[in-house]
């Protein structure tokens, strides 16, 4: 089905491990975003990308790495997971027009033990 998909939907890992959350969209949207959602904080932007090979830091980028070699994929890597990175992670995309609406994936719930 067309849309934006995240995987895995649920992940449990241990402190210090590397974890990669995948995001794939079929619309060829230019802009892609990673947010984390924590109780009391709403959604906070981690990284975003305006196009393939163009990425930039958001509000809370420390401990995360992104890449965007292809327009449709925007993986988020936690290089050495910490308990504070336990969260629900949302990937979103937006068409070529800036300031438009975002289309969200269903989220990846990550627990770091």
């Amino acid at each position: 089905d067309a849309g934006i998909t995240q995987s895995p939907r649920y992940k449990i890992t241990e402190t210090g491990r590397q974890v990669t959350l995948m995001c794939h969209q079929t619309w060829s949207h230019s802009y892609m975003f990673w947010y984390r959602q924590d109780l009391g904080h709403g959604l906070r932007l981690i990284y975003y990308s305006a196009a393939a090979d163009i990425t930039d830091k958001g509000e809370v980028p420390d401990g995360y790495v992104v890449s965007r070699s292809k327009t449709e994929n925007f993986p988020l890597t936690l290089e050495s997971a910490t308990r504070s990175q336990t969260s629900v992670y949302f990937c979103a995309s937006s068409p070529g027009t800036p300031h438009g609406e975002l289309f969200f994936g269903e989220g990846s719930r990550l627990t770091v033990l």
């Binding site: 975003f33 709403g42 932007l45 989220g107």
Partner: protein, 111 residues
Amino acid sequence: SQQGEEDPQALSIQEGENATMNCSYKTSINNLQWYRQNSGRGLVHLILIRSNEREKHSGRLRVTLDTSKKSSSLLITASRAADTASYFCATNTFNDYKLSFGAGTTVTVRA
């Protein structure tokens, strides 16, 4: 960072009643958007209002924007059980396409 703040944090109403929630933000914006999130799901875009607009309607939704007060309101009329969800406002500025979200209002519609 630019961020909207919703008020109230939680709202419980009877089916058929109207639900109103507010959003305040800090600096000048390009547009303001409202999103809905059902439990365990991703956010879904509801409505976008531009900085030069004062009111917008979409079905049972009515959004107002007062740029002089840096605030917006979302009204859901004749609420249904299916409206039970969290609602978020999000803003961006003219020179930045990143959306900044508030912490959300949780709405419970009782049957």
